[in-house]
Symmetry: C2
Subunit: 433 residues, 2 copies
């Protein structure tokens, strides 16, 4: 029996009734009635119903126990997909599972977030919870497909870095063979240097922020999707690539996570052919904020999201021209048409349903501009020597963006806390499981 090919529950509807099948999975639900026992089996592809009669002489182990079921595919209008398994031989593949901390077979998990997180290895087994990560994985696939076909090279840059250069604050310190080192807050410096080598690069990897605040939007470690490309005219070229990437992520979900979309009842966003763009100064006016505000407040972002929806029918809105003083030192100043009021930059944020999802823009590419920008911020260029050598030896105009995976998924599935879509979140208080 062991050598019979396994049938996934998702393929059961395609099996000819009467055929013998072998299923493997966890006991999702065991329901013992007087004359019959129902076993709902869960595997990676879905659920299947197994019907056990007393004459079958089979014991069903407790819920969550992994089992093998060999039985006959039988048409049944009551079963999911119209096919159930009858006359089974049920073999437990482990000892009986302990009762789960929450009832995983219920359509909705009746537990608070701390319970869900403390028991993540078990609670993520729930089909509707698992669906959240299926959305994430399919998004990554769409991200890569888009960039692979546009001449980008995947890179992996070091996460242990020598200095806490990019922003200074909120870095984790490591004991690196007796000397201090830091966890990278972003691959920013590396992806820029790599543009000098590969022209177009992307990286998917962890980034680390020692966020001292406990909020529903921040994690100490998250997955960053980073893109950087050379030979751009300005940040609008970067924005065009971002549009393709978002459309590709949406397509990835539609193609590879259709079941998850259905289980979650998701409304996938519309990605317009061209994402509407508004200048920061215009955005301030639109939401009635003072013209000298250096940044958009969350309520402004929400208002702009509603405006984009009403005016452009778009779930996305790019705000360009943020003031230089609120952007990192490597930001390229505004270079399009007449100079708008303030100290605008060739940088943008992408709002998704009224929430910041992506930050990007054009970077400086001339060595002297870097030296000047660093000195203007009271920093000494020699401290940045390893980074600056790329610019000394010729770097093209370039730009890029970074997108947080968990933030994207949270916004898509409507999670109120980013921890709901993170497999094993890390924050001020949580370091386990």
């Amino acid at each position: 029996m062991k050598s019979m090919d396994r049938t996934l529950t998702g393929h059961l509807p395609a099996v000819t009734p009467g055929e013998t099948v072998r299923l493997c999975g966890h006991v999702h639900r065991r329901r013992e009635l007087a004359a019959v026992t129902f076993l709902v089996l869960r595997d990676r592809s879905g659920l299947a119903q197994v019907v056990i009669k007393p004459a079958d002489g089979q014991e069903v182990p407790p819920e969550e126990t992994p089992v093998e079921v060999v039985g006959i595919a039988t048409a049944s209008s009551q079963a999911p997909g119209g096919v159930e398994v009858t006359s089974p031989v049920v073999t437990a593949l482990s000892a009986p599972a302990r009762t789960a901390p929450v009832e995983l077979w219920r359509p909705e998990l009746a537990a608070g977030l701390p319970t869900l997180l403390d028991h993540a290895p078990v609670t993520w087994r729930h089909p509707a919870v698992r669906a959240r990560w299926e959305i994430a994985a399919a998004s990554l696939r769409g991200f890569r497909t888009t960039l692979d076909s546009a001449g980008f090279t995947e890179v992996h840059s070091p996460k242990i870095v020598e200095s806490a250069t990019e922003s200074g604050a909120n870095v984790f310190e490591i004991d690196y063979f007796g000397r201090p080192a830091y966890l990278a807050q972003s691959p920013q410096f590396y992806k820029q240097q790599l543009v000098g080598i590969f022209e177009r690069v992307y990286e998917i990897g962890p980034v680390f922020r020692a966020e001292p605040h406990d909020t529903v939007r921040h994690l100490a470690e998250y997955v960053s999707l980073d893109v950087e490309l050379g030979f751009v005219r300005d940040h609008r070229d970067v924005l065009s690539v971002l549009r393709e990437v978002i459309a590709g992520m949406r397509a990835g979900i539609k193609t590879h996570a259709a079941g998850a979309v259905e289980r979650l009842g998701l409304d996938l966003p519309v990605v317009p052919e061209e994402i509407p763009v508004i200048h920061f100064a215009e955005a301030l006016k639109l939401v009635g904020a003072p013209a000298d505000e250096p940044d958009l407040a969350p309520e402004h972002e929400r208002a702009l999201g509603a405006w984009a929806q009403q005016t452009h029918g778009s779930d996305f809105l790019a705000v360009e021209g943020y003031p230089m003083r609120k952007r990192p030192f490597y930001t390229h100043p505004w270079s399009r048409q007449a100079r708008p009021p303030g100290d605008g930059s060739n940088s943008f944020d992408l709002l998704f349903r009224g929430l910041e999802l992506v930050t990007g823009g054009q970077r400086l590419h001339r060595l002297t501009d870097y030296e000047e920008a660093l000195r203007a911020r009271g920093e000494e260029p020699p401290a940045y020597a390893p980074y600056l050598q790329a610019f000394a030896h010729g770097m093209p105009p370039h730009g890029g963006f970074a997108l947080g995976l968990e933030r994207w998924v949270a916004r898509l599935v409507g999670a109120t806390n980013i921890r709901e879509v993170t497999l094993f979140p890390r924050d001020l208080h949580r370091l386990s499981p």
Copy 2:
């Protein structure tokens, strides 16, 4: 002129002679003769020759400066691909580049490893050096394609972990909001827990080893390709997946890095339909080592590699049944046929051309087996509670493997030092660039 579409140098041979083209790239080589100046332009797709006559009135900036070239595609038997660019307008896109620390236009880089590593952002621009990473990126693509189409889910597990559990030694300690935490040495514990959720998972991400030794084979941070799958019979099922993955990585290189293969003159390995397997006890006999040796020495691995080549015509050899005492506590004991001499396990190493490339095997899946295995090693199961909860709540028989990206590429390109194939290596002495 700016709005004309860019032509990649790699597409130049397909352009109809006489057409005007716009190229972008770095000045790879500038050669000024009496009557003519040659500019070899380098972009992500290759090289192109630009011919400048005195009448063109064009200055060519120094090597490595990024430029835009607008000129006429002209048939030429001397040019790479049979097409060169004449009557150009050359526009520098940055200030003139400083002289590079090594002459990047030479076919071979004449510099020692420390120079190459100190100037990595520049030296990786060399086409033959860049080719090494192109091999890496194409391998990743092949790895994912194989697993995506076999029902695996991509996951990302945390790199900051609570305890230095897996091996205890060689971990980096972090200051995590005032308490100690550690950098993950591998995603082992997480990928196992995730098998309970997704059945089949893979992760590509950084792992961290505080290696106190300076060797040509070890890094403090490297890219690990991790796979784990449930409902296996034993480690041989894992080995079958590994075979598909290696074949997929080879196919990825062939399809997506053909240029790199050519530049490096690579001989891609033959991946047999079935990878030959030898039991550890047999392997010891074959190389004439004492029967009570607990592991294979490097010279044994080399001898076995030569044997696999001679006997099976295979660049790969799997050695199964390693003694339990040399494997981690979660290793499943030997379960096939009659028990061989010693304390064999359902684990294997994959040798690639006589060098260990992959370690894998079947893991324990019953809670009581874990408790026993931990106690036998003098450890207390409660210290592993977050990990063990997956097993308490039902885990299928499962196994997996881990493959180091840099080690794979080093072996493929014949690098003698793993740092040669690592973009920005981290080791006992090196933390920058």
